[in-house]
Amino acid sequence: MTTEEMLKQAAKEYAVAIDREYWDPAAYEHDFSPKFQRKMKRLARKAEHPGLYRVGRIAAIAALAVFLGFGSVLTFSAKARSAVCDWIKKQDDQTYDYHFTQDPQAEGTIYYEFRSVGAESADYVPNWMPKGYELVTVIGNGVGMDLLFTNVAGNAIQFSYCADGVADDFQAEGTCYAEYPVTVQGLPGMLYEAEVETECSIIIWMNEADDMCFAVTGKLSQEELLQIAENIVKR
């Protein structure tokens, strides 16, 4: 008997043993928790409505891209920073819609529309920020939250997280970023370090078990981005 034949035979004999060991799968009953069932429902939705789910994923990923881009704009555009201070608040029942306008006087010029949900609603928050940065706003983005921090110099850092399987697999492409695989809190991620001063660096990581995607963006060093990311805590 050659080694190859022996391996096939070994695998075959062992597979038979496993089949016998677990001859009746129905005998292994378990009441799965609501958390597991929710996660499996999401997976099942992917199976039942692949087209719909695809659209949802594209929307979610596009939202993430928009927010990352939004962070870049805020960090480097004085106009944008100024405009953020001029959110037009409109109360609608018990929620608030915020309209971000470039010119506070031009109320009809709407560039972004978010729903403010309050800092206490954020499930994930950074426990560490570079000195001088303070939380200025928390915005619900439909699939997660965006937390914006600024300092007196007008620089901004954005922490975003998205739920519901936003990115099982993603990649960022760009000519002005150096890419580094990183590990954040034991989870896989990528750090995109801006190679030009006009761009923000971004760190993105995923928790596949919880179907969560996280990002921190700002004009920061690799060490600072990693330190913020490592200090994100679930409340």
Binding site: Y14, E21, Y22, A26, A27, H30, M40, A47, A62
Partner: protein, 172 residues
């Protein structure tokens, strides 16, 4: 800028996935629990296994058959061991190649099957995936979340180790 991977594309694959889920979820929990001894962790391992199964659902011919049963057991065991090492922060303390978990407890195994039982779990998974499921090294790498080079290395080590055990047991 961003790309994604859809997991289940066709109606036939969706139906297969559902059958696998309903048939094997309890068994998969049992296998994961034997390793993790924690219900929440075992459920996480089962979920992670189903995500992996969904990614490769098109490769499964029959949802309910001995071959698929062995496949789902192998995948969930792999996910449970990954989680065990993550949770216990033992990834550096316990080399994956040293973890031995017996599958078969209610039978007296003989011959090659007995030798397989004594293999470190990672090696056994590679042998089952390659020689029983008929996967390539590239496919094994995707299933085990390792590089193809690592899969090739594992395959070589698994063969060597099995030969050693067989000689020790007097099979060869």
């Amino acid at each position: 800028m961003l790309a994604y991977v859809m997991m289940i594309e066709t109606l036939a694959d969706q139906s297969k996935f559902e059958k696998i889920y309903h048939t094997y979820k309890g068994l998969m929990f049992h296998v994961a629990y034997q390793i993790l001894h924690n219900e929440e962790d075992a459920e996480d391992a089962v979920h992670n296994a189903f995500v992996k199964i969904a990614e490769h659902i098109s490769k499964i011919d029959l949802p309910v058959c001995p071959k698929t049963k062995v496949y789902v057991v192998t995948i969930v065991e792999n996910k449970a061991i990954d989680l065990y090492r993550q949770n216990k922060r033992r990834s550096r303390e316990i080399p994956l190649d040293d973890i031995v978990v017996p599958y078969v407890k209610n039978q007296e195994l003989q011959g090659l099957a007995a030798c397989m039982e004594h293999l470190p779990v990672r090696y056994r998974q590679v042998i089952l995936l390659k020689y029983q499921q008929g996967l390539s090294n590239q496919e094994i790498a995707k299933h085990l979340d390792i590089s193809e080079a690592n899969a090739i290395k594992l395959d070589q080590r698994a063969k060597k180790k099995l030969l050693e055990i067989c000689k020790k047991e007097g099979i060869l």
